[in-house]
């Protein structure tokens, strides 16, 4: 079974409730139809009920088993408004009411209140607005200050690597880089059910070069080790061949490392390197790239690229269900 097929089977067992704030988007409606029909998840669409129903009728989409919620009409609105005010100190009720009228904020608050398990948005809005809405509603995991993202890279030989952060943080400082490493390790463990081995990448292997850019990665490794308190196997700074190839690791490193030569999570020093690397792997090595999956939020939220197809959104729904 392929990777996504595996996630779909796992998601079927978990049967998570997923809120889609962009309920008017045709791809979202078709995704909801499939998730519900195949029992992959329980989708909830947000939007004006009348408009959604007439759109699906025209498009011949069957949403019979799918819940549609109109935020402005929802009896839950007052409860979610007061929950918002309680979580974001100093925000007036009138301001919260205006924010909750936005479907994506309402969806985020449904997630915060435990009415759903996952939120997926971004088919019609930017990554930045999905991140902002998620930060205001679900907030970050304890100890996390920076939302980030990862890609699941599936190589032609079947090997699976996680790459981070290839989509969100442009130039993370060493603390942010440490957070990205630890968060991606946790995501890997949750999704793959295996031990993550996290390599922090650079153009230097354990001090073979001296430069402020190398120093940033070295400081990130120290900070990440402190954050993880020995629970995660992580190491660096490594050149990518040292991280992936045992023979190179043996040659280049003076001291043994539990990660070098066998890394399955690659942490890139900035968005230049991360974004370039994932696309190189995708196009030159013929790897499958799934993501970006957002991480660092207190509850699972996923962004979609605006060009995402129904197939992609079903896959992301299954992957994100596995993150709960």
């Amino acid at each position: 079974m392929d990777l996504i097929g595996g996630f779909i089977e796992k998601a079927k067992r978990l049967k998570k409730r997923i809120v889609f704030p962009e309920g008017m988007d045709e791809r979202i409606q078709r995704t909801a139809e499939r998730l519900s029909r195949e029992g992959i998840a329980k989708p909830v669409l947000l939007g004006k009920k009348k408009d959604v129903l007439s759109a699906v009728e025209q498009r011949r989409i069957d949403l019979s088993g799918v819940e549609i919620i109109e935020p402005l009409d929802s009896p839950e609105m007052p409860r979610l408004v007061s929950l918002y005010c309680a979580n974001r100190k100093g925000v007036k009720t009138g301001v919260a009411e205006r924010l909750l009228k936005k479907d994506i904020i309402f969806g985020g608050m449904m997630l915060t209140a435990g009415m759903v398990d996952v939120m997926i948005a971004g088919a019609a809005s930017t990554t930045a607005s999905v991140i902002q809405a998620s930060a205001l509603t679900v907030g970050y995991k304890p100890g996390i200050s920076t939302p980030s993202s990862f890609f699941i890279m599936v190589l032609p030989d079947g090997r699976i690597l996680f790459y981070a952060d290839c989509a969100v943080n442009i130039d993370p400082d060493f603390k942010q880089l440490a957070e990205i490493g630890v968060t991606t390790a946790n995501s890997f463990a949750k999704i793959m059910g295996q031990q993550p081995k996290v390599a922090f990448l650079s153009f230097s292997s354990k001090g073979s070069a001296t430069h402020p850019l190398v120093e940033k990665v070295q400081k990130a490794v120290c900070a990440a080790k402190e954050m993880a308190e020995g629970t995660v196997m992580l190491d660096g700074e490594f050149q990518v061949d040292t991280a992936l190839v045992e023979a190179v690791a043996k040659k280049k490193l003076k001291e043994p490392s539990s990660v070098a030569g066998q890394a399955n999570v690659l942490i890139f020093p900035d968005l230049n390197s991360g974004n370039i690397a994932y696309k190189l792997t995708q196009y030159l090595a013929g790897a499958g790239a799934f993501g970006p999956v957002l991480q660092g939020f207190a509850k699972p939220v996923s962004d979609l690229s605006r060009g995402a197809k129904v197939e992609d959104i079903v896959g992301i729904s299954a992957i994100t269900s596995c993150l709960t």
Binding site: R88, G90, V91, K92, G94, V95, A96, E97, R98, L99, K102, I105, A128, Q132, A133, A135, L136
Partner: protein
């Protein structure tokens, strides 16, 4: 509404939402660089202005407004069209 009144209410709301002293806010103050607004707060700031003046603003256009003075202009335009 007089411009002066709009300006004074914009400053009051900005101070409340961003948690800064009203006295440090001038027309030239930039929300992010000078007043320390984080990107997540900008959504709340827009909603707070809408609530204060009882108007609806187009979100993408509102989020492009960078300074307090420009926010006053932007809101005044909405008040005139109300």
């Amino acid at each position: 509404m007089e411009r002066a009144e709009v300006e004074s209410r914009v400053k009051k709301v900005t101070a409340e939402v961003l948690g800064v002293e009203e006295s440090v806010i001038t027309s030239e103050s930039r929300f992010v660089e000078d007043l320390g607004a984080e990107s997540v707060q900008s959504l709340e700031l827009v909603a707070a202005f809408e609530d204060e003046f009882d108007i609806e603003m187009e979100e993408d256009a509102a989020l492009k407004v960078k300074t307090v003075g420009k926010a006053v202009d932007f809101i005044q335009k909405h008040l005139e069209n109300k």
